[in-house]
Subunit: 190 residues, 2 copies
């Protein structure tokens, strides 16, 4: 068993959580799709599915914070950067036939009051994502408190846009949210 | 068996879907909490859980569209009305220890690509909610297309705010979204 086996379990779990959420994902499916022996799952995650999902959420949170940072860095103005990032999520959701987009939304709602372990991982993940938006705003001179409020608003609008786009099987809600958020951030950053 | 039995199943299902989502909710729990005999569940919903959930989503959608209309009618200006409505959701989420709020968000994400029946009910529900926001904007003279875009933005921000408030176990994200949406709608409606 190598570190790669652990990574393989986590990656498979991240993908399944994004597509189908926590409660629809069974350990057997994770084992089957990861291609690793079931015994090794309990070796790396002795507490089973809850522990594995909490670690997967942490991993996804780090990937997302990093992806947000990278995407925002591609544009000088936060308004343009956020709009482009949202347009990109709309494209990705469409390309996946709305199986993907918002890798944390489903599990965050499902476990908000049913698993403290996963809930804490979700909070950390959203906090990391907020921090990436906030920093981009601070970089162009927005004052910290306002940057924090805008970052929350931005994250809420994105998560809600993903929910609507996946429900309607259309990138349009996310693109409309993208344009609206552009206007909001543009007004706040001059 | 009376019509009340059917209603009782639907009401119990609506509550369970809001608190724990679709996949964590089993038929046995629905039967147990509704207090009706299991046989009558299959009498009213011969196709079982999927059919019951789709009907529950329809019912919730009608309740929500109506609740939005009523809440928005309490204020003349859409900006004030939307802010007050969001503050109210924040209060309700807190009072329920974050078990409630966003009765459709979890099931909409969970079933977006896994149940066509439920997905179509979720779309109709969101469309009804959007229409309520849109009408309020049109009533104060906002042009139809802009009203539609603002309504989508509003719904996305609310759904995302609910996700963040339930995840953080705090009404604060919803209240921050409330203030931000107030500014957005105020700017659009003069």
């Amino acid at each position: 068993m190598t570190q790669n086996t652990r990574d393989q379990f986590l990656e498979t779990t991240c993908n399944l959580l994004e597509t189908q959420g926590y409660y629809a994902t069974g350990l057997n499916q994770i084992v089957q799709e990861s291609g690793a022996p079931k015994g090794s799952l309990y070796y790396y995650f002795p507490d089973g599915k809850e522990e594995l999902a909490a670690e997967a959420v942490k991993r996804t949170g780090m990937v997302l914070a990093d992806r947000i940072q990278t995407n925002l860095a591609a544009y000088e103005q936060p308004a343009d950067a956020v709009r482009a990032f949202l347009m990109r999520i709309a494209d990705l959701a469409e390309e996946s036939d709305f199986q993907s987009g918002g890798p944390l939304s489903t599990i965050a709602m499902e476990t908000a009051t049913s698993s403290e372990l996963i809930n804490l991982s979700c909070r950390d993940a959203f906090t990391g994502m907020r921090a990436a938006f906030k920093q981009k705003l601070i970089d162009v001179g927005v004052e910290a408190e306002q940057a924090d409020e805008l970052a929350i608003f931005c994250l809420a609008a994105i998560e809600g846009g993903i929910l609507l786009s996946r429900t309607y099987h259309s990138g349009k809600p996310l693109r409309q949210v993208a344009d609206q958020m552009h206007a909001v951030i543009h007004a706040a950053t001059g």
